[in-house]
Subunit: 111 residues, 2 copies
């Protein structure tokens, strides 16, 4: 479906960060990352892809390279290929991130 509403799609897990696939092609995937307070995606890197995070709701500590910033709604963090990046939710609110990665490392699955 070429239309979707991100407000209806968040899904959280008490165990760990929850990734909700919104769309995927060979060119990119677009997910929601849904983080309860205290949850995180560890800093990591992709040698062959660009990734961006857009804060939809809540506040998140986003790391790119050796810098970490607390970002709120409407703010973006992005990592060029090879740049370390990660995200964590210091709370107290839930955090929802719109995440795009291009190209899609796993086109069959969407993320």
């Amino acid at each position: 479906v070429p239309f979707l509403d991100t407000a209806t799609r968040p899904s959280f897990s008490l165990d760990r960060l929850s990734k909700v696939s919104l769309l995927g092609t060979a060119d990119l995937f677009c997910d929601l990352y849904c983080l309860e307070p205290g949850q995180a995606q560890k800093v990591h890197a992709h040698g062959e892809a660009t990734k961006l995070y857009y804060v939809i709701t809540g506040r998140g500590e986003l790391t790119v390279g050796d810098e970490t910033r607390l970002l709120g709604r409407g703010e973006i963090a992005w990592a060029a290929p090879g740049e370390p990046h990660g995200a964590s939710n210091p709370g107290p609110d839930r955090l929802v991130l719109l995440v795009v990665m291009a190209p899609n490392p796993n086109p069959g699955a969407g993320s």
Copy 2:
């Protein structure tokens, strides 16, 4: 810079839709499209890229294929390679779209 605030970046033109480049690599570009009421991006297609629109503020008529929907904040429209797509602002408010296209057809310029 790997961090930016989309709230501080919109720029409008009375002449036509205004595109504000936020970031670009070979893998993707991310722009803001800023549309005054009555402005539009004509329906068009890219044979080799996936494009997505996310509504940041306002409401927009987004077309993908032969379907047009009125979308508000938090909603997404996306077009697979070759699918016709376009956007228009029926008003009364200004429309700001977060736009991602992958791969970047013009890596040197960012959009």
